[in-house]
Symmetry: D2
Subunit: 380 residues, 4 copies
C-alpha cells in the first residue's frame, strides 16, 4: 500500500491538544516520522515503526512534592502501584492519555486501507457534553436510533462538517454553542465534565465479526473501553433500546438499493438485502450486515481538576491535594479521532479474518445445493 507521513498526520493533528481554548493548552506538534516498514512510499509488509517526539513535556508539572505524596483520586496512580509495586515519577507514566498517539497513528493506516479497498468512511462526533445532548432521549425516542433525523445524520456526516463545529465537534450549531458554554463554566470553576462520542462506520463489508466470543460489537466494546477515561459503550439502539418493544426494535429486511454506477467502489459486492430501520447498529448476531455500524462511547469527567480535593496520602494520612498540571476540563472533543482510530483497527482485524475465510473458500470446487457466496447485488 502506498503510505507516507501525510496519510497519518491529519488524524494526529486532530488529536493534538491545544486546538482551542477549551482543550489542554499543551502545544505539542506531534509530527509523525515513519522509521521502518516502508520504502519509496510503499509498505514492505513488515512492521511499520513510527516515532512522534514529545516536544513539550514539562516534567516539573507533575512529580512535584505534593503529587509524590498523594495518589490522585480516580487516576491510575494507586492501582498502578498496587499492580506493579513501583510508581513512575512522570505524571502517571503509562496511564497518560498521551499513549493514544500510537492508537491514532495506527488507526490512520488501517483507515487508509479500508477507504481504498471498500470506501469505508469512519466519522465520530460529540453526541453529548454533560447534560447537553445532540439528541436528548424522549419518551417517543428513548434511543436516538429510532429517530429518523439521527439516522439521516449518521448516513451523511463527514469529518469536515464535524470539524467545522470546533471546539466541541458536535454537528449542530445551537447545541454546539451550549456545549462550549458548559465546558467554559466547568473550566472557570477548575472542575471538569464528561460526555459521549458517537461514531459511524459506513460501507463496512458484511460478514465481519465472529459468532460467539469475538462478536464484532464485543471487539468494538473492548477497543473503546481500552481508551483512557471511558465508562461505557452502546451499539445501535443501546441502553435506550431496552425500552423499545421488539415489534418496533426489529429491523425488517428490504431489497438493497443498487449502488450508483458512478460511485468509487461500485465494484465491491454489497449484500442483496438491507434493513429498513437500523436499531441493530449494523451488526446482527455479532456479524456486520453491511448497514452503517454506529455506537456511542461514554467519557467521564477528567480526573485531574484544579480544585482542592480532600483525600489520603500513600501513607493513609488524610490531606488535601491540589493539582497544578495542565489539564482538559473535557476530553470529549479530542477523543473523536481516537474513537475513529480504534474503530478502524477493529474493522481492519475483522476484514483480515473474514478475507482469509472467503479467500480460502473461493478456491474450493462449488458445492451442490448451497447458496453461492459473495454474490452480491449486481451494480446498475
Amino acid at each position: 500500500m502506498a503510505l507516507t507521513e501525510d496519510d497519518i498526520q491529519p488524524q494526529m493533528t486532530r488529536r493534538r491538544p491545544g486546538q482551542s481554548a477549551i482543550t489542554t493548552p499543551r502545544n505539542e506538534k506531534d509530527r509523525v516520522e515513519i522509521q521502518s516498514g516502508t520504502e519509496f512510499g510503499i509498505t514492505l509488509g513488515t512492521p511499520i515503526g513510527i516515532r512522534v517526539l514529545n516536544e513539550n513535556q514539562r516534567k516539573q508539572d507533575y512529580g512535584n512534592q505534593t503529587m509524590d505524596l498523594y495518589p490522585r483520586p480516580s487516576h491510575a496512580d494507586w492501582t498502578y502501584l498496587e499492580k506493579y509495586g513501583v510508581k513512575a515519577s512522570s505524571g502517571g507514566g503509562r496511564s497518560s492519555a498521551r499513549e493514544t498517539i500510537g492508537r491514532v497513528a495506527a488507526g490512520a493506516i488501517a483507515e487508509k486501507y479500508l477507504r481504498e479497498a471498500f470506501g469505508v468512511e469512519i466519522v465520530a462526533f460529540t453526541a453529548s457534553i454533560g447534560n447537553e445532548f445532540l439528541f436528548p432521549p424522549t419518551p417517543t425516542h428513548p434511543t436516538s436510533a429510532t429517530n429518523p433525523e439521527f439516522l439521516k445524520l449518521i448516513e451523511t456526516i463527514d469529518r469536515t462538517t464535524v470539524d467545522s463545529f470546533l471546539p466541541v465537534r458536535a454537528p449542530n450549531a445551537e447545541v454546539s454553542e451550549r456545549m462550549e458554554k458548559l465546558v467554559q463554566e466547568y473550566k472557570a470553576r477548575e472542575d471538569s465534565i464528561g460526555g459521549t462520542v458517537t461514531c459511524v462506520i459506513r460501507n463496512c463489508p458484511s460478514g465481519l465479526g465472529e459468532p460467539c466470543f469475538d462478536k464484532l460489537e464485543a471487539k468494538l466494546a473492548h477497543a473503546m473501553l481500552s481508551i483512557p477515561a471511558t465508562k461505557g459503550f452502546e451499539l445501535g439502539s443501546g441502553f435506550g433500546g431496552c425500552q423499545v418493544p421488539g415489534s418496533v426494535h426489529n429491523d425488517p429486511f428490504i431489497k438493497a438499493p443498487a449502488v450508483p454506477a458512478g460511485q468509487t467502489h461500485a465494484t465491491v459486492p454489497r449484500p442483496r438485502l438491507t434493513t429498513k430501520t437500523n436499531n441493530s447498529g449494523g451488526i446482527q448476531g455479532g456479524i456486520s450486515n453491511g448497514a452503517p455500524i454506529y455506537f456511542t462511547v461514554a467519557f467521564k469527567p477528567p480526573a485531574t481538576i484544579g480544585q482542592a480535593q480532600k483525600t489520603a496520602t500513600y501513607d493513609e494520612e488524610e490531606g488535601v491535594l491540589e493539582a497544578k498540571g495542565r489539564h482538559d476540563p473535557c476530553v470529549v472533543p479530542r477523543a473523536v479521532p481516537i474513537v475513529e482510530s480504534m474503530a478502524a483497527l477493529v474493522i481492519m482485524d475483522a476484514v483480515l479474518a473474514q478475507k482469509a475465510r472467503e479467500s480460502a473458500r473461493s478456491l474450493l470446487p462449488p458445492l451442490k445445493g448451497v447458496v453461492p457466496v459473495g454474490q452480491g447485488r449486481p451494480q446498475q
Copy 2:
C-alpha cells in the same frame, strides 16, 4: 481443586428456561456431566470436558417452510449466510442462546475458584425492564453510582435475595411486581421487551487488568457484549456519570477499614487505601482497586416475536413472517447467571495473569528505595 457436578449445576439450573411463566416454556433439564479433567472429584490440571444433553429440542418449531424462506429480522440468519455462505436448518444454529450453557458451566468453575481463594462474590440482578428501573435516573442522580442506596445494595445483595424475586430477579418488591406485569403485557401482545442487568464483583483482588489495551473494563465489556442480545455495557457511573462534575465524580481515597478477624479470607491481603465513593466502579486506569466492581449490561427486546412482521425473503421478495417457535418475551431474568459467569471468567483470567507477575516478582531480591509490594493492611 475439588470439583464435581454439584459445583456447576446450581448456575445451570438458574439459567434454565422454564423457571416461570414469563420465560420460555422449554423445560430443559440441563444436567451437567463432567467427562474429563477430574478424577475422584479433583481437577487434574488438564482440560475439563463437560456434556449437557439437549433433552427437549423440537426441531419442527424451527426449520418450518416459512422460516426457510425468510431471514428473521434482527436475528443472525442473514449475517450468518453473508459470513459463511451456508445456512443451518436448526433454529439459527450456532447463534441460539442455548450456546450460553457452556459459558455458565465454565463460569461456575471459575467462580468456585475465586470464592475459595479470595472470597470473591459475584451477584447480578435485573436493574430495569423496559422503562421500569430499580433506580430511575434523576437530575440529582443521573447515575445510580452517586446514590447511597444503590451503593448499599451492591455491597450487600446476594443470590438468594435475587432469586427470592423470581421471576424478574429485581431485588425490590414493588419494582419487581411492576416489571412482572410489564413483561406479561408484552407477552400477551406477542411482543417483547428489553432491560438491563447490573452485576457486582466483591472482594476482587486489586491489581487486576492491564494498563493499555486489556484494561479490566475492556475485557469485561468484551465478555458482556459477546453474550447474545446485548447492546451496551457501562462501568461504575457509566453513561449517567458523564453528567456529573469531576469534583463530584472523583473518588477520594481513605484508609481502608480493617477486615474483621473472623472473616473467612482475613488472611488475603487487601489494599491499605480504598475510596470513599465508588464512581469508578472498582477499576481505575484499567486496573482493579479492590473496591466492588460493578457494571450494567443492556439486553435488547428478543428478536423472535409472535406478531406477524413485514419483511423480505432471502430472494428479496416482500412478505410477512410469522414465527411459531417458543420464545421469551424478555431475556433479562435468565441473563443474570450468564452475566455472572462471564464476569467470573474475565476475573479468573486476570487473576492468573497478575498472579504470574506477582509470583515471579516475589522471587527477586528486594529493591532499594521501592515501596514493598503486596504489603496490604494487616488484619486486626
Copy 3:
C-alpha cells in the same frame, strides 16, 4: 466444504494400533463420529466436534499397585506430578499417545482442504529405525538432501506405496525387511528402539510463513516436537547440511517448468522461478518457495518396556519396576499419519494467514513501480 466421516476415517485407521505384529496389540476401532459443525455433509463454518469412543481400554493394565508406587522412567508421570501436584490413575492420563487421535482427525480435515484447493500432497514415511536408514549418511552425502535418489523419492512417493511397505512404512523392500527384523529383535528382548520419519509436502503455495518469529519451519518444528516421543526436527538438508559448503548448499534459481495443462490444479498460479536443487527444503527466509517442503522428525525408543528397570519410587526408595501394559517396541510406523496431520494443520494455518494478506492486498489500486503480485507463470 463437503465433509463427512469418510474424509477423516482413513487417516484414523492408518494411525490405529494393531495393524501388524510389530505395533501395539490394542485393537481399537477408532470410529469417527462428527457431532457438530456440518449439516447435510457440508461444513457450516462453526467448530466441528468429533467423537471417537475408546472401545478397548483396559484400565487394569495401568493403575496396578507397582505403577502407583513408581514414576515410569522417561515417561511423563513424574513431571506431571511436579507440574500439577496430582496424578491421574489411568495410564499416564493426558500424556498417553492416544491423545494424537484428535490431531489426526483435525489434520485429515485440513488436508482435504489443501488437496482440493491447491492439490497439496502430504506424504510421510519411515526414514530410519535404529541404525537402519533408507539413505544412510555418507562422506559424499552427509545429508540425503544432496542425493538425487532421495530428491526423486520425495517428488514421487505416495501413501499407497508407503503402506505397501507395512508394517514399517519404509518405501524400500530391502531396507524395510531389515527394519522389520530389527524391531522384532527388540520386541523379543522386551526392549524398544527409535527411528525417524521423513515427510514431504508437495504443491504447497509459495509465500507461506512469517519472516521473523513464526517462520514456517519454526511452526513445523513446534508442531512436530509437540508429538509425544519426538526428540528432533530437521528441515531440508538439516543436520547433515551443516557439513556441506555453501557453494554446494545454495539452491540456484531456474525458470519454473510449466504445469502440464491436464493437471487438476493447473489454474492455481505457481511461482515463475524454482530452485535447481532443494537443500532449503522448500523454505527460504522462513517462507515457502513453492518447491517440495520436506523435513525429518526423530522419535525416541518408547519409554514403556517389558524389561525390569532399577529406579526409584515416588517416595525416593530404590526399587525395580516391571511394566505389564501393552506397548509398542517402536512407534515410528504409526507416527507416519500423525506427522502428516500436524504438517497439514501448520500449512492450513499459514494458508489462512497468507490468504488474508493476499486477498486484502488485491482490493487496493495497483501501485506504480512495483512488481505485480501473484502473477505466476501462465499454464501451457
Copy 4:
C-alpha cells in the same frame, strides 16, 4: 527488577560482528539505550523500549545493480517477493541477521530475571563446524547424550570458558584449533560452512511446559528454528538417540542430592527425585524435570558467498551472480549468544505460565488425599 544497560550490553557485545578474523568485518558498536520502561534503574512493569543504532551500514554493498537483478540463492529475496509482492532495496531488509539484535537484548533481560530468581545458568557453545565435532558420533555413542564426558561438560561449562575459545567458541583446545583452520579454508575459497550450537539450561525449575501442543521442547524448537539460517533442532539424545535401545535410553529415577547449604538459591525448592542419566535432556512429557535441559541447533552454511553463482534473474534469465557484500564464512560462533537469548525467552514465558498456576493453586484450601505440591527436598 533492577535493570540498566549494563545488564544487556555484554550479550550484545558477544553477538557483535567483528570479534575476530573469522567473522564478518562489520564493526558495529551495538550500544544499547533503554528508552522506556525503567526509571532510576528499576523496571516499571510497562514495556521496555530499547534502541541500538546501526552505526556502520554501507548501503552500497547491497542494492547494487547486480543484486537488483538476481534473487540471491538460498536467501530470502525471492520468497519475500512471493509473499509481500514488493522487495526492499537494502540488503534483504527484514531477513538480515541484524534482526537478532532485538532477540539478544530481550533475552538478556529474561536471563537476568531467571538468574536472580532461580540461579538459572544458560550456556551455549559451538558443538561442530563442518565435519569437526566436539563429540563425534561413534557406534558406542551415536548420541553424545550417553557419553559421560559430554554430560560432565554440560554440567560445568560457563561463558567465560566458552569465550576463552574465541573465535570458534568450542570448549576444547584441539578441536577448536581444527575448527578455526577449517573456517579459514572456507574463507580463503570465498565459500562458507555450517555447524551446530549446543545449549544447556541449568537450575531450570521443574514443571515448565504444557502437556500437549506447547510442550517445552516444542517451544524451544519453535524459538530456535526462528533464528535465521537454522536447519534443525534436537533435544537431549536427539537424532542419535533413535539408535539407542529403550533399556539404555530410559533415565532411571534416583533420590535428588541435597543442595549444598551455601549455594545462592538453596531456598528455591528442587524436585525430590532426579534422573541418573539424562537422555531426556531435562524434559519429559513436554515438562521440565529439573535436570539440565540441553539441545543442539543446526546452522546452515551462510547463503551469501563471494564465489560466482550460476542462477536466474527475477525475470527468469540465466546468469551469474557475484555478491560483493561483507559476509561471514560461518555464523556458528556468533550464533552462541542468540541461541542463549532465545532459550531465556522461552523459559521466561514458561515460568510465568507455571507461576500463575502454582500461585493460584497455593491460595486454595488443602485437598485430602493429594500429594502436597511444591514440597521439594528440604535443604541440608
